[in-house]
Each structure stands twice: as C-alpha cells, then as structure tokens.
C-alpha cells in the first residue's frame, strides 16, 4: 500500500501509465468528502465491476443517499433497480462524451455535473474516462476506486482491499454527517 498525502510519492497503479506531466492529487476520505460537499452537481459514475467486491454496492447507495445521483454504466443498473436511489442508466463513454459538450445539461436536464466521481468501473475505462475529462473539459474528476489514477484530478492512493473499504466507509460517514 502506498499512503497518499504530502511528501509521499504515489505512482500510477498501472506501471508506466503516467501519461503526461499532470498528475492527480492523492486524496484521503476527509478531503474527498469536503470536495464532494463543495460541489453543486456531483455525479457518481458506477460501473459493472461494482459487483466484484462485497460491500461496494452498499457504499454506492450510501453515497447516493447523501444527494448524489448515480450514473450506472455497464450493466450496473441491475444492482440499483430495487434501491431507492436517484439512478440513470448510461454507457460510460457516452456520458464522458456528453460531459465534453459545453451545452449538455446533465442526465436529468437540470445542469451539467461539476464533479465526476468514479467507482467500480473497469480499470482501463476509468483511466480513459479521466483522460478525456482532463484533456477536454474543466470538470474535476475524483477517483475513489482502489487504484491510484494519474488522469483524475484527485484520487485515492493505491490501497489494499481492506483499507480501501475502510476509506470508502469513512467517506460515507463524512458525507452522512451534517
């Protein structure tokens, strides 16, 4: 595990996949929660890999219940159909494409997201989604997946499974407080 934070070098989980001079700020649950709370229209992009680790679906539901809509990509909509959350089904490259459109008004037509949070999306697609956001939009990307991603604006560091779930739980608790 590489701990994030001041003075600690965090490297891309995929060795050699740092694709340019700009690197994501490593972030902890506390800072992530403040970032999310500060955003006016955050969206939580949840992919099919959400089913691969026990407890992740519940985490997504908890985050969403703090007022953050879920963009369910891949086939992940099936995990939220019976949950009482604000969820919309969308393909991950389609939503990323729409995010690059200055005139797009969001999945609900009420306005474009101002923070994109990613959880449980395939590793390659997470990387490529953040790459597009970084290069073609002003929208910050927050990666709360298990692996540090340089293309995001902010990212959890590389974590083992146990600590990752702990980070996510802490994030939920922070978001749920107040």
């Amino acid at each position: 595990m590489e701990k994030g934070g001041k003075g600690v070098r965090v490297t891309s989980w995929r060795m050699g996949h740092d694709q340019g001079p700009r690197r994501a700020w490593p972030i902890n649950p506390d800072a992530a929660s403040r970032l999310i709370k500060k955003a006016e229209r955050p969206v939580l992009v949840v992919g099919s890999a959400i089913e691969e680790v026990d407890g992740l679906i519940d985490i997504a539901v908890r985050v969403s219940k703090t007022g953050i809509p879920i963009a369910a990509t891949g086939h992940s909509i099936k995990f939220f159909a019976d949950k009482d959350v604000d969820v919309a089904e969308v393909n991950v490259v389609e939503i990323t494409n729409m995010l690059t459109d200055p005139e797009w008004e969001g999945l609900d037509g009420q306005g474009k997201p101002d923070l994109v949070i990613i959880l449980g999306v395939n590793l390659d697609l997470t990387n490529q989604t953040f790459s597009t956001l970084k290069n073609f939009t002003d929208i910050p990307g927050l990666n709360i997946s298990r692996y540090y991603n340089t293309n995001a604006t902010y990212s959890f560091p590389n974590l083992d499974n146990e600590l990752w779930l702990e980070y996510l739980n802490q994030l939920c608790e922070k978001l749920e407080s107040e």
């Binding site: 995990f79 919309a88 490259v93 494409n97 395939n122 970084k134």
Partner: protein
Amino acid sequence: MPETKKIKIDKLKGKGLTFEDMIIEFGKIEEEWDEPMGPTPKPNLLALRSWDRKLLERYEPFYTPICDMCCHCAFGKCDLSGGKKGACGITIRAQQARQIALESAIGTACHGAHARHMLEHQIKRKGRDYPIDLGLNVATEAPITRTIVGIKPRTLGDLEEVMDYAEKELQKVLASIHAGQEGDYIDFESKALHVGMIDNLVKEVGDLAQIVGYDFPKGDPNAPLIEFGVGTIDQTKPVILAIGHNAAPGAEIIDYCERHNLSDKVEIAGICCSAHDLSRKKDSCKIIGPLSMQTRFVRYGIADVIVLDEQCVRTDLLEEAIKVKSPIITTSEQNCRGLEDRTDDNPENIVRDLVEGKIPGVFIHDPAKVGEVAVEVALKIAPLRKDIKAIPDTKELIAQASRCVACEACQRVCPVNLHISEALKEAEKGKIDKLAELRDLCVGCIRCESACPKEIPIVSLMEKAVEKQIKEEKSKIRAGRGPILDTEIRNVGPPIVFGEIPGVVAFAGCSNYPKGAKEIGEIAEEFLKRRFIVTSSGCAAMALAQYKTEDGETLYEKYPGIFDSEGLTNVGSCLANAHILGAAVKIPHIFARRNLRGNFEEIADYILNRVGAVGVVWGTYSQKALAIGTGLNRWGIPVILGPQGSKYRRLYLGRKDKEEKWEIYNARTGERVKVDPTPGHLTYVVESKEEAIVAIAKLVMRPNDTTKGRQIKLAHYIDLHKRYMGTMPDDLHLYVRIEGDIPMNMKEEVKEILKEKGWKERIIPDPTLVERLVWKKEAKA
C-alpha cells in the same frame, strides 16, 4: 480486367521487309461489364471526403488520449495536455486523430504486404492468367474490389491493379501524417477511414489469391470440422508448428509431406491465422489456438520445429524456443528475427545445422525450401527432443511460488489486472486452484514475468496448474469457408433489409479478452438462439471453439455453417474477414440491384441505413484490428469493442439525445426528415459481456426496418435488457417510430412508457444521407 498481352514473332518476312524478334504488345482491353462505372472508381483521399464528413457529423470522434505527449519528431517531446499545442502547432485532438490514421495505416500495411506477397506467390505458382473462379454460387467474386476499384477481376493478374492502387493510397495517408502536413482532426479521421477501407480491399485480394491458388473452400457452408486444442496433437509423431498469418510456408510443408508420403507421419499444427489457413488447405491440420497460446504452447516443448511467418508473432519466441530446443525457421522478409539468411543454401546443410543444434534457427525466404527443411528437421530432431519442456513439475511450482514477495509488480503490469500474487501465495501452500483460474483469464502477454523482481516464471506456473486439462483439451472448429454464397445472400437479403432476420453479428479481433474467451461464446450463443446470423474470423473464431454449450458441444457442432438465421460461419483468417464485409456489400447488389462498380458512397449509404450488421471486437490489441474496424465504419457498419478498445484512443459516437443529428433525406420525396437514432454509434466501447449483448441488440436497428422487423428487433432488445440489466430500457421512445413497431406481446407495457415520455409518431422514410440518391422525379412531383 485482362492483363496486357504480348505476342512474340521470331521472324516475319514480307515484300522487301523482314522482322526478326518482333514483340507486339496489346494494351488493356476495355472491360466487358454491363454495369456503368460509378462516380468514384479508385477513390483518392478526396473522393469520399464528403461522405466521411457526413458520417463524422453524426458520429463525432470521441477521444480518450492514452498519452498526453507527442513524440513524433525531434522538436518534442511536446506536452499537449490542457489545451497546449505542440511545436508544430498540433492540438491533442488532432494528435489523437493522427495516431489513429497512423495505426490504421500500419494495420493496412500489414495486410497489404501480406496480400501482395500472397498474390506474387500465387502468380509464380499458377501464372497471371490463372482464373479467379469461385464457382457458380459466387458470381460476385470480389464485391469490395468491384465497389472501390471499379473492376471485376477475372485472373490473378487482374489483382495486381488493385494492389497498385491500394499501395499508392497507403503511401498518401502515411505522407499526411508527417509533421507539418495534415492538421485538422476531421481530415485525419477521413484519412483513417480511407486507409481502413483500403485494408478491407487488400484483405479481399490476399484471400482471393490464396483461395484460388491453394484451392481453399469456396464458400462451402459444410466446410469440415477441424480438430482444435492442444489435446488433439499426436505427440508420438514429429510436430511442426506454424505461427502467424501467411499460409505460404505452411502450405509448402503440407505439399512436401504429400509428395513424400509423410502426411500420416508428421503432425502439422498452427497458432493464430496461419492455423486457419492451413486447415483450409488440408483438414487434417490441427489448430492449437489463438495468438495468446504462442509462448505457452512453445514452453510445453511439443513443437519439434517452429515456423514463423508474419504478424502477431511474439518477438521473443526465438528465446523461448531455445529453452526447449525447438529450431525456429523465420520465413517473412517483414520478420527475420536476426537469423542468418540461408535461402540460397543447400537444404541438407540447413537441416544438419539445425538438428545438430549448431544454430537455433534460420531465415529462409523460399516457401518451398521451408517446406522441405521443416519436415526433414522435424523427422530427425523429434527423437532427440523427447520430454524437453519449460513447464515446471509440481515441486518446482511450489518452490517458485514460495519465492514471491507479494510486491504486486505482476498485477500492476497485467493488462487485465489479475491478482497473481494472491494465487502464488496459495500455490506456495500447494493449492493451485487459483492459479488455474487465472490461467483461463490470462491473455498470454507474459509481462508479469518481465516485471517480477524475483524472475518467477509465472506463466509457466499457471500452465503447470492446468497442464493435464490443457493436454486433454479437444474441441472442434469449422474450417474457414471463405466467401458467403450469392445464393445465401439472395435468401437472407430481403429479411435482413426489412429487419425480419434481426441482425448479423460478426466476431473478429484479437485474443486479449477482459474476462477470458468464454464470454465470446456466451455472447454468440445468445444470438444464435435468437435466430440472428452469427459469423466469425481470426482469433475470435477460435474463441468460439474454446466454448462449449451445456450439451458439451462447441457452437460449430451445434449450429450449421450457413449464412442464415441460426447459422454460425467461420470465414477463416484475418484476411478472410473481408468476406464478412463482402456479404454486406453483396446485399444491395444482389437483393436491391444496386451497382457496385466504382459506387462506394451509394453502397455504404445502403448498408448504413438498411443492413443490420454489427461487428464485435471483444479482444483488441493490434493495429490490424483497428484498421479492420475503421474500414467497416466507412461502409456504415458499427463495431463494438471490449473495454481495452478504449485504449485505441478514438471512438465514433452518436448522440441519441440530439435530434438534429439524425436528419436524413427521404429518398422518396427529397425532404429532410428526422429519423430514429439508428445505428446509434459507429465505434463503441462497452464494459461487460452483459452490456455488449444489449448493445448488439440495439445496434442492429436501422431506419429502414419494416414495422414487423422493428417489432422483432425491439422484442429482443427489451427482453435482453430485462434479462441482463434487470430493467425496461429507458430509451424505447426513441426506437418506436409508429405504434406498429411495438412488439405484440408488450403493447400495453410499452405504450405506458411512451405516454410518460410524450412520444409522437414519426414517418418511416426511405432513408439516405446522400442527396443525389433522392428519386429525383418523385421529389419534383
């Protein structure tokens, strides 16, 4: 088109005039063909630019850079992120498009050089006048060539004109990529589409040449079932393994064995597309598997001689072969591997040097000599090589696993992020189940071994974990049948165009799957059960042979090899996948009587609006796969990529939420009208098998579907969405054009949804993107 003819007259005497050694040369004879020449024979970079812009206006390029830098010239590196420009002025968007054009050009060059070699080889064997005769049922012998080049090739020599054109266009695309040339991303994309179309063309040339030259199956729906898998290899015989794509050396191995009555005494097997093509020539040749099997199979030590030709051959195979004392013969000028050129040497000397181990391998640029040397070496070396392998025994496996320090470097370089060190920890305790599970998901890139600081032979340990099972692995694959018959097109053309056959699903691409080969089989089976037409080629066709149904059969055994509902065709190698596109091109020609000759735009417009075909490239690694897909896109065929396909950097995405993007001409009236957003995308990426299945059902819809056809397609879409997504689709209102489109048994449920969405009926036009294709008379009236 007949070639230039020469007549030589030794002596001709006339009144006061004597000619000696006279040669009379006839130029090209005008084509006898009742089709008039269309507007774009041999299109250059500009001829179809307006068509590309129509496509790209609707399906805008979407970029996901994999690198923010440009390293193309010595001005650089240039950081292009955050809106910065490079030293030449290029933007990150244009740089992505340029890279796509370059990689498509590389893929096309690979197929093109292969096709040129195969053509020259067959001309040398058979002569320029050798006819291209695919039989009465394949009268439209070269649909892609007819449409793009505007000729109807009758002989092998006629195909040289096609290659001349293709090579010229490839050079121009490459020139446009140089610093300070093209700079606009849409124009780069147009060039990528152009060179992708050229890729489709050269593949058709290469496969036609080998079909007629080697007498491969000519569209036979009953092509034989071929033995597939490591377990099919008779290890009591000398084994020759061919890896790559070019059938020429392997074909000579087969011929040499036949001439010397050795066919029963030598086992000939292949990996990757060479395997397809060898089994098209002789059905006793075995297919080991796709390109991901190369290193693994070599490490088993089963191959007594390894013959490498070209494309997708691992660059470290010589190193691997040395470990198991298997001599290597390289055969392609594109792929010499540093080996000594012994093309002009006496075969006996070469055989002696290889058998005695004086040299690890040789380069021989003469397929016939390769045939002789490979067989003779195999016969002599096999008894000396018994039991040599690079797979550890169980004790060694445990010892190696215990050296793991759990640094996770292996996982961090793994393209599919396999949890390797966890499996090694288990193996250390003698539990190899996890390693065995990983082996099914491993894509065979061997990066984990290179990254391991302890130099643990991770892939060999995985192989050991499944060795018994792999060595018993036996399956069946249908031999590559080549083209789709004109008679089949006559049968399926109308129901495809009207939408009553719900779609054609074509599997192609590489073998680096996100979750193993099994998923391709599961996707294919889902659509075979639903009476779609399923077709395949290359490594994807092999993945289908690795999958077994609940009954224990492969899909090739369960479903017939016809191009029809519930049929599963394997057209053959990568070159042969031109026939899948060829089938789509034949539909407007045979069913709708549209002229092909030099008439690209009209044919592509027809396919885009009427032919519900979709390509699935579930494994994506090579530049060739990119070129194939980009070419298909120019013809209006959408392609779905697995998640790794996002690393190609560019997709062509439609916006179903933007109504104005879906405006077309109604060919009956000339009016501009808005249609349903179909097909939704041209290049698309999905995350999971489940999403792929639903996306296929949606991407086969076309604006021309009849109401009956649309009912059928919507019924599948809704049913699959419910099954794999757990919900009703939320975009049904976009695909129901009139009430008659609603599937009968879902009327009430769907009508309720339409009401909520404020749905209104739309007209079903005769759709075209091309104004000149409007029926002028009626439009004026």
